[in-house]
């Protein structure tokens, strides 16, 4: 896969992939990567881009960790006094049964952060809540959190929580966007390999223009997404309003398109349980459902732009400044 990411980012992406592939059960790959140390240095460009590259690697490797919740919780640490790695954010999700909290990855021995807009933030030990496994394919450990309100220990008032919440959402959306990118790249790699190997009518199906164009479109969608999410990482605080929503909405939309085009090229084998395609596809769908779906965010973005007459384009001076970073 081609990439515009700088070579240091590329190195971390490759390193993260290698660690995620080789970690023995019971070991913490984030520990092995030194990822927890990066978490307290997110204002530094290189540390931030390394920390976030983990998510792209997780998508490619179908790996799974508590990193997403830990990243979202990071801006709250100054208020709660926890060490990086202790605190993991539960993510609110709209379900048919109303709003539900979910956690990603194995949260055993962690403290959960429950931040409810309007009510401030609270914490609770993971041992004090009921975790109900949600049957999500895609090798993603997703648990619904059932917690008694009496167990929640308030740590931040609504006023104190506002800034941390905005920052946590920004980081979380960009991270989820990168993981969707990784998963989309993962299945596109399988589809490209399949197009080169699978023969029909006496030649590889990748020799047929209809198939080539499907894959070229899928690659274009990956490159577009990569550009926006890596720009979000570079801009960070200088990003214009709603930029993380744009990145997340684009991730959901492009990620799904890449999966659909890849499956078309893979043919029937891509729709079987034995083939890995569905793991990547399901991970994209599950991540699209967290922190705002593409459908919700895209509509809200249009409404906001129309109602407020806001120009959502990144100022050229911000692009210039971040390019030097």
């Amino acid at each position: 896969m081609t990439s515009v990411v700088a070579s240091s980012d590329r190195e971390f992406l490759d390193a993260a992939g290698a660690v995620l592939r080789s970690t023995a059960p019971g070991e913490d790959p984030l520990e092995a990567l030194g990822w927890w140390d990066l978490l307290s240095e997110l204002t530094d460009h290189d540390a931030r881009s390394a920390a976030l590259a983990l998510f792209r690697a997780q998508g490619r490797e179908l790996a799974d960790s508590v990193a997403l919740g830990a990243l979202i919780a990071q801006p709250y640490l100054a208020v709660t006094g926890h060490e990086p790695g202790q605190l993991v954010a539960a993510i609110a999700r709209r379900s048919r049964r109303g709003e539900r909290l979910v956690v990603v990855g194995d949260v055993t021995d962690r403290t959960l952060l429950v931040d409810r807009p309007g009510r401030g933030a609270a914490v609770v030990a993971a041992s004090k809540v009921e975790l109900v496994r949600v049957a999500v394919p895609g090798r993603l450990a997703l648990h619904e959190v059932r917690v008694d309100d009496a167990e929640l220990a308030p740590v931040a008032t609504e006023d104190e929580a506002v800034a941390a919440r905005a920052r946590g959402l920004f980081l979380g959306r960009v991270a989820a966007g990168l993981e969707i990118l990784g998963a989309a790249e993962g299945t596109l790699t399988l589809a490209v390999a399949h197009a080169g190997a699978r023969e029909q009518f006496g030649r590889p199906i990748g020799a047929f223009q209809a198939v080539r164009h499907l894959l070229a479109w899928a690659q274009t969608d990956c490159v577009a997404l990569e550009s926006v999410v890596t720009t979000a990482v570079r801009l960070d605080d200088a990003a214009p309003p709603r930029y993380s929503e744009i990145a997340k909405a684009l991730a959901g939309r492009n990620g799904r398109r890449v999966c659909e085009r890849s499956m078309q090229v893979l043919g029937a084998i891509g729709f079987t349980e034995e083939h890995d395609h569905h793991h990547f596809h399901s991970r994209v769908l599950a991540l699209d459902a967290l922190l705002g779906t593409s459908a919700e965010l895209t509509h809200a973005l249009g409404a906001w732009c129309r109602e407020t007459r806001t120009d959502p384009a990144t100022p050229v001076t911000a692009l210039l400044a971040s390019a030097g970073a």
Partner: protein, 385 residues
């Protein structure tokens, strides 16, 4: 005017594109008359070109349009980032398009790099100052995507050349003084190796420019015929037989950076139509904004690559595809938002919306069709069999 009174004054803005951006913004905030005259919907293409040329003249005299170009060509130094900043700001302040000055970005960098230095020192300042504009004579009736089959001929004559043939889809020839023509100096069988690039004076006897009125009512395209048109030896661009290199130099730079210049005007189109928008169109608008964000960050990377003296190569195909997608997404929303676009033209705003909407349906054809871009990605990036 102070900032161009001497090289010591121009230095800070030349060396710091951010400082240039801030200073230019301050100048634009004074709403100069030439900007006011050009920065609103103008349905007549001729009037739009005239207003844009008048603006270019002022931008040149004030120095702003000279940043980003070398001093020997009438510039004040700096690089493409200055030009990227200037056009972005003009679009944000209401200019609707670059009109014929798109060719400044498409042709001038290659003319500066590969043209005869003395000739370019005479001609390019006139282009920068809005005095004489250029067109590009590449496509022919039988040579579209397959450019290497071009048949327009150049034969050696009296120490120079004589050109005979027919070019089509040559944008803005009607408004142009000069045309960069790709002509065959070798045999037809020599394909891309037998092509040479020439600078042709469109005012010369033997040149006939026939404007082609497009389906959207504008006449920016033309068919140009050449009948034994003499061309001096100094008007050769690059080497004899080096025309393909000239064409590829143009395409390699244009495809990676054009998206930046163009997409700013799509951003402008969104802002100009927000008052027409309705809640039903919010998802279409949101989608267009996603596509615009993608072309903005990707094409800015193309501008940076150009400034660092590298090109995107086959990766420019991604930028071209993203630009077309965003142009169509923006205009899908404009069609849904402007109730008059499809049925009637009462004023310049509706007329321009209609022109832009219809034009957005052909953006997948010009400058290298969408199918060619997809082929490039499949072959050179995905390495499919």
């Amino acid at each position: 005017m102070l900032h161009i009174t001497g090289s010591s004054e121009s230095g800070p803005l030349r060396d710091d594109a951010c400082a240039y951006a801030v200073a230019f913004e301050e100048w634009l905030a004074t709403r100069p008359a030439a900007l006011e005259a050009a920065a609103h919907p103008i349905a007549s293409y001729e009037q739009r070109v005239a207003a844009t040329s008048a603006l270019m003249r002022v931008l040149y005299d004030e120095g702003w349009a000279r940043y980003g170009w070398p001093e020997q060509l009438g510039g004040l130094g700096g690089d493409i980032v200055h030009r990227a900043v200037m056009w972005e700001a003009l679009a944000r302040h209401g200019l609707l398009s670059m009109a014929v000055y798109e060719h400044l970005e498409v042709l001038a960098p290659t003319l500066a790099a590969l043209g005869n230095p003395a000739l370019m020192a005479r001609l390019l300042p006139r282009f920068l100052s809005g005095t004489e504009t250029w067109s590009q004579g590449f496509s022919e009736p039988d040579a579209g995507s397959d450019l290497a089959s071009a048949r327009t001929r150049a034969v050696a004559r009296d120490g120079g050349w004589a050109i005979t043939g027919r070019k089509i889809w040559t944008s803005w020839s009607r408004y142009a003084t000069w045309c960069l023509v790709l002509a065959r100096t070798g045999t037809t069988e020599s394909r891309h190796r037998g092509l040479t690039a020439f600078v042709v004076d469109l005012r010369h006897p033997g040149v006939e420019v026939r404007p082609i009125v497009q389906a959207n009512g504008t006449d920016e395209l033309a068919e140009v015929t050449f009948d034994e048109v003499p061309v001096d030896a100094e008007r050769l661009v690059g080497e004899i037989g080096g025309g393909w290199r000239v064409a590829m130099h143009i395409l390699a730079h244009e495809r990676g950076t054009y998206g930046w210049f163009r997409h700013n005007f799509l951003q402008r189109e969104v802002l100009d139509n927000l008052s027409l928008g309705a809640p039903e169109g919010d998802t279409l608008l949101g989608n267009a904004l996603l596509d615009l964000a993608a072309i903005r960050s990707s094409s800015f990377a193309g501008v940076r690559a150009h400034a660092a003296d590298s090109v995107l190569g086959p990766r420019a195909a991604f930028v071209k595809l993203m630009l077309a997608a965003s142009e169509q997404a923006v205009n899908d929303w404009v069609l849904a938002s402007d109730p008059d676009l499809a049925v009637g033209v009462q004023d310049d705003h509706v007329a321009v919306n209609r022109q832009e909407y219809l034009f957005s349906r052909i953006v997948t054809v010009y400058g290298g069709s969408q199918q060619m871009q997809l082929d490039t990605i499949a072959k050179q990036i995905l390495r499919l069999p």
